[in-house]
Symmetry: C2
Subunit: 157 residues, 2 copies
Amino acid sequence: MGRPPAKPSASLDRGLLPSLLGYVLRRAQSAVFDDFANTFDKAGEALTPGEFGLLVLVDRNAGLSQMALARALGIDRSTLVPILDRLQERGLLMRHRSPTDGRTHALALTPNGEKALARFARLVRAHEKRIASQLSAAEIRVLIDLLEKVHAGARSL
Amino acid sequence: MGRPPAKPSASLDRGLLPSLLGYVLRRAQSAVFDDFANTFDKAGEALTPGEFGLLVLVDRNAGLSQMALARALGIDRSTLVPILDRLQERGLLMRHRSPTDGRTHALALTPNGEKALARFARLVRAHEKRIASQLSAAEIRVLIDLLEKVHAGARSL
DNA sequence: GAGAATTTGTTTGATCCCCAAACAATCTCC
DNA sequence: GGAGATTGTTTGGGGATCAAACAAATTCTC
């Protein structure tokens, strides 16, 4: 007597997948991303997690160059260009000319960008609260700590 | 006495980012992904984490339809088509005709695909060992457990 | 200081992931 | 048997990503 013959509603056999850190990480990440999108959608705002991180970085490091920003984000400088274009078109950010180095752009948020970032940060906090709703404060600390370790460990090859 | 004036080598001010679960998750995920790619590159194999997950799912659920697979992967069925095309061109997987339902394809690994998957699984285990090198076995269990909770919690909206 | 080498931002080209909408073939339900 | 749903595919549109080539500007070298 095998198992009930493929109840279509039953979820699949995932084999070793659930024991793989990479797999579980990817699923958690995906769920978090979905909730992020949902939070901003419902609030009538349009922003990706990557864009939020970028805005925070520019806000906290005024005058940053595109190269430095690309490096901090871990992406190629050519990838950054259309992203900045879009943010600039939305009036959130500006590329100023650097007085000291004619090659670089000094990035900065516009006043509008600052106000928008404040709104975004409020939404992100609500989002964070929601995704961590099943976890205690101590568990969140542990989780972040372990994730940092993974990041540091894998990075140091 | 402010801090040393913007040593370019010093890393940026990330503001609230490091305290955000979403952010830390994304960075860990990215580091893990990089190590995965690196592991397969060095072994002369070409595979993404997503493709590995797909192959495991097909292996463990022979006769699966494309719809069921897409649902399990959390992607649209139209997204799956070119992915299967590629895997099929590589001779790892086949779309058989279902005897019971003419609309669906019964997916299965080829003998070659099975052998390749065994090789891939060995590489993935080595990769997992490496990214978890900074963590104890207990920590890994805790980490996976907490990530599952995040996944379940965010999912249940 | 003049020329060579490097750095920066941009453009172009390639690959990939993703979704939505439309379509034909097939199945299901009445 | 016919209406409605399901399945796989195609097409169209957004983006993310990198690599390579380029012009402008800076830095290095002599």
